[in-house]
């Protein structure tokens, strides 16, 4: 492998030529060319559905292309499976971790190896890699105890252990704090500059591409629309190429991953989205919040304490953004507000009335609507029709003494489908036949149809593309403007900053910092996300209590 790496730089590490791949009638990749050079970080930018992941899956052997050729180090080859790719020196760090939590770091790294192995040597090797790249990972630590950022570094070690000459990173920063992202890019630069590896960085965030890459390929609808040196690019240019039309960087900054633009808009005082009622704080003593959580302790579905003394208020017409790195209790918070978990301690109040969250349907009955993080888990029934999914929560509305008329259901559903511009074959189409964005619309349409007091939106734009994100963002604002309190739980900081009136930071199951949107300081927020303010917050809580 070493000699491969020292091969002349004019031979590209990877040359994909005219790759095409269709899934049924859907063309994922249409005659795509891509060249990765050693010593360079190549950004692959595109919206969801642009085909970048399919392209990477072709490279790693998870997807066989219909047409096109692959040359690795100037040698024509076919990559049949990930083992084959690994044999050719191609490694990939996936967006979602595949780690076994009860095992230690080095055990996770060794998983999948066959035959006898030397535990001490394995540990040493992990420690070595960790040190060389400054990853700071303890080989003996149990993965379950590690933060998302460290887990990702474990994934990187898994990949680097095989000493790949070509590295692929798929949306690596989605679970990292800004600081952790910065460290990741340092590692990438090290791997590229000093060891002459080739790196592909897949992302839909303009900031990342601009900061971390040397050259960039922009994909849209399965085809390459632009290829350029990153030095020659700027955000408006990239955004236009990616979306295929002029975009306002300001209004769509969160969808494009432009955190600084979002932050600036507040600094400029141009954060002019819906009129936040002035002086909410002043009133908060007397006004009854639409949703109030006080010192809530709850165990997640996995049995671990995931909410540990969480307190938060959401007033009507207000969007409260809960920021935080994934895995700090977001899922449990959503589950609690979905009547899926019981509170072991603390109080949950809706409009001043206490609710027992664990009772089936209690939260929905009290007027708490939820757009769940994983809509397939608790937001819909895939095997039921679109119409039925629109009436899951409040079928009583169209029933009389326990009997409902499917024709009435279908008619009402057709109206909602029109109102929310849901693209479907009709009310009787099975829910699973809808695309992700349209499924999300069904969920939103249903949740708003029973006139909720509070709307909980957990990662509402995850997996959607720019257009769909825009639509969802506008709806959330409308909802808040109509007087509903909105609790936005998101790990996309851009989204939180763009939408929220107040920002709360969730860390290890509690809110460790809360501030008005206008007072947000990015640096301070970044520290809070990493838990830096946890001690202060605890102190503060002690004082105020």
């Amino acid at each position: 492998m070493a000699d491969r790496r020292t091969a002349g730089t004019d031979v590209p590490a990877v040359q994909l030529t005219s790759i095409s791949k269709s899934f049924g009638a859907i063309v994922a990749c249409d005659r795509v060319d891509l060249t990765l050079h050693r010593g360079r970080i190549h950004g692959i930018l595109g919206e969801n559905g642009a085909g970048k992941s399919t392209l990477m899956k072709v490279l790693i052997g998870l997807v066989l292309p219909d047409r096109g050729t692959i040359d690795v180090d100037g040698e024509r080859c076919q990559i049949r499976d990930p083992q084959d790719a690994a044999g050719r020196g191609i490694g990939m760090v996936h967006q979602h971790f595949s780690l076994v939590e009860p095992l230690t770091v080095w055990e996770n790294v060794m998983l999948g190896d066959t035959g006898p192995f030397d535990a001490t040597a394995a540990r040493r090797r992990v420690a070595e890699i960790s040190e060389r790249y400054g990853l700071g990972v303890d080989p003996g630590a149990k993965v379950g105890d590690l933060s998302a950022g460290v887990r990702q570094r474990v994934e990187i070690i898994k990949c680097l252990r095989r000493d790949p000459s070509i590295l692929i990173f798929d949306e690596p920063t989605s679970v990292l704090t800004p600081g952790e992202s910065e460290r990741l890019f340092d590692v990438l630069r090290l791997a590229v500059r000093e060891e002459n590896r080739a790196v592909a960085l897949v992302s839909h965030k303009l900031d990342e591409i601009l900061h971390a890459t040397d050259e960039v390929t922009i994909m849209r609808a399965g085809a390459v629309v632009k290829r350029m040196e990153t030095a020659d690019a700027d955000a408006p240019l990239l955004a236009r190429a990616m979306v295929g039309r002029e975009v306002s960087l300001r209004s769509e900054a969160s969808a494009l991953g432009l955190i600084e633009t979002v932050a600036e808009s507040a600094a400029d005082g141009e954060d002019s989205h819906h009129g936040e009622p002035e002086g909410v704080e002043d009133d908060s003593g007397t006004r009854v919040p639409a949703l109030r959580l006080r010192d809530v302790v709850a165990r997640g579905l996995d049995g671990r304490v995931s909410l540990d003394g969480l307190s938060i208020d959401v007033f009507d017409s207000q969007i409260v953004g809960v920021a935080g790195v994934e895995g700090n209790g977001q899922t449990a918070l959503t589950d609690l507000l979905s009547s899926l978990l019981s509170a072991e301690a603390g109080v949950v109040e809706v409009d001043g009335v206490e609710v027992q969250p664990g009772r089936p349907g209690a939260m929905a009955g009290a007027g708490v609507a939820v757009i769940p993080e994983d809509r397939h888990a608790s937001g819909c029934v895939l095997d039921m029709t679109v119409a039925e999914n629109l009436f899951l929560v409040d079928i009583e509305r169209i029933s009389n003494r326990g009997i409902y008329d499917p024709a009435v259901m279908r008619r009402d559903a057709a109206r909602l489908i029109e109102d929310f511009e849901i693209q479907t074959a009709g009310p009787d189409a099975p829910f699973w036949s809808l695309s992700g964005g349209n499924q999300q619309r069904v969920v939103l349409a249903r949740e708003l149809s029973y006139s909720p007091k509070v709307l909980v939106a957990a990662q509402p734009t995850r997996g959607l593309d720019v257009g769909a994100i825009e639509w969802m963002t506008d709806r959330l604002r409308e909802v808040a403007d109509s007087g509903v309190g909105v609790l936005l739980i998101s790990s996309e900081l851009e989204e939180i900053l763009q939408l929220s009136d107040r920002v709360a930071v969730l860390f290890r199951g509690r809110i460790i910092g809360e501030m008005d949107r206008a007072d947000v300081d990015l640096e301070e927020l970044g520290l809070l996300l990493g838990g830096a303010g946890a001690a202060d917050a605890a102190q503060e809580a002690g004082v105020s209590a």
């Binding site: 992941s53 994983d374 079928i395 959607l464």
Partner: protein
Amino acid sequence: MSSQQPQPAAEGPETAPTASAAAPPAPSRLREAGEAAAMYLGCIVAALIVSAVIVWATGGSWQAVFSALLDGSLRAPGRWGETIGIAIPLVVVALGTAINGRAGVVNIGQEGQVMMGSAFAAYVGVNMGGPGPVVIVCLLIVGALAGAMWAGIASWLLYWRRVPEVLTTLLLITVASQATGYALKVDWLLLAPFREDRSVRNQVSDQLPGGVRLPRIDIWGNDFPISAIAVVLMAVIVFLLFRRSVWGFRLRMLGRNPRTAQRAGVSTVKYGTTAMLISGACAGVAGAMMLSGGDFGNYRFTPGFANNIGWEGLLVALVARSHPVGIVIVAFSFAGLRAGSGFLAATGVEREISQVVLALLVLALLVPPAILFIRQRRRALSATRDRT
């Protein structure tokens, strides 16, 4: 975020919400029904051909075998009445199974619930006394309660201690079998009193007195108990429950996605237990109908009285994919095979061979729903894959 789409363009429509409706077309119902029908036909024809070859290869006459099956189930005098008599408990058991299946709880202990239902019904029928119709109603109710109790044990263990209901319902069959066997051994329970004119004392219950037997309908020499009418009504009721009731809607929600159901206000314990109790009650009342109908055991409770009706009813529900109308049709087909198999002995074909023929025909009915089920799952899966 974007790494998670195996079919990237599937998210496409959102980029241009104004584009023409781009949702993947859902296969039309008519076409699906046509495909299903073709599949059933194909499987049955294949089973008939294979059966014919087997019978022919072992020296029998396949024409005689099929003709005997038809004679035994439909053609010979009085036979379709017999077939209906057998179909009655199958339908009832299967309807109950459809209900618990809809709620996502498993009940495979119908055989035991049938035993309990018929045993309790026998006790009431023999010992209660009073006007016949009252006794009949009572024995049916008691049969239902006994079946519900038996299923209730499993559901109680499930929700109290999370004991898998697959195990408990199954194991309770053995308990039911032993318990009813014991009841047939002791005088104070079910064992018929000693009679001077019999030298051997059989382990059977007393026969139901004439007044507490279900009246039989006679059409052109084919007779069957009036419970047949009740059973058709039950199927219609279940059909409406599934189609139009909030209860049925919520039951399905629970079965298909318990978390969504919990959030929407469907209590797993409440709805799950209800479904299980109804399922057991159906099996129990099926047993009571078998006893008082006369097509099984000549109005006596005997060892092995359930005669696999519980198992076969479970099978009927599976084959009919829990559809109430389908259940009536499939139950009649299975009953026909059972009735027809009685005539196979006369064809001179070895018993083992004729059993293989029967099994092949059952298999032919089982394959299409299995394929349909797998296809449906796969479609749903491919729609959701990697979207988490």
